[in-house]
Symmetry: C2
Subunit: 147 residues, 2 copies
Amino acid sequence: MLEIKNKVSIFKNSLIWEGERKGIVFSDNKPGFSVATPPEFKGHAGIWSPEDLFIASVNTCIMTTFLYYAERNKLEFISYKSDAEGVLEFLDNKFVFSEIRIKPLVGIKKDTDISKAKNLMELSEKNCLISNSIKPQVKVTPEINIL
Amino acid sequence: MLEIKNKVSIFKNSLIWEGERKGIVFSDNKPGFSVATPPEFKGHAGIWSPEDLFIASVNTCIMTTFLYYAERNKLEFISYKSDAEGVLEFLDNKFVFSEIRIKPLVGIKKDTDISKAKNLMELSEKNCLISNSIKPQVKVTPEINIL
């Protein structure tokens, strides 16, 4: 962690337009996937839109941040699922995401770990690097279950 | 467009942790795909990370915004490709994306359309709704080619 704190990291990707309002996005040796204008803006259903990717990046960042803290603090957990939604509005003459809501569901083994799991979710909410880089508030409301 | 300006749109997705630092993200009837902590944070290579998705959302938004303006202004173009890179740094005691660079390459038919294409790229840079929703500056440096 110390190592990366002292350097700049670059994340790259490319895309190619494929006609209509669709394209393919790719990056290094990752599987490429289709992207498109969403139906809300007269695009295509069933294809990931920029709006979807934006909300997915926040949802995933909360998870990867939680995984980091869980490992570091030796929290035993069994499952992690999370629903995310982003609210897009036309405000001050432009479209913006005004709020993002993340609802993680964490399954743990021992009821004595409930407060630890809650604390680590709070840390994840505070330190997710995508949340740090965006304007809308990211509200994380976790639910911790004993499985 | 007027219709969507007067309402709030919600973009949703879900994810499930699959062990190690990996998960699957899905949304409605779109194809699910793997996500993971990136190698920079001791994660997995060859899998889309939250950081990648964030930069991909900006890259794709510039394209979909351009497609909107190109159609509206009847610009004839043949191809659109775009490279994106995001700069992640540790600043003021937290990780943030400090800058995003987008390099679209637009192929057009007529040299008389060069300035029109440039203007529409500028409009796209200004009005991309993901750019409106994030903190880092998004620098778009388009190249217009006659094919």
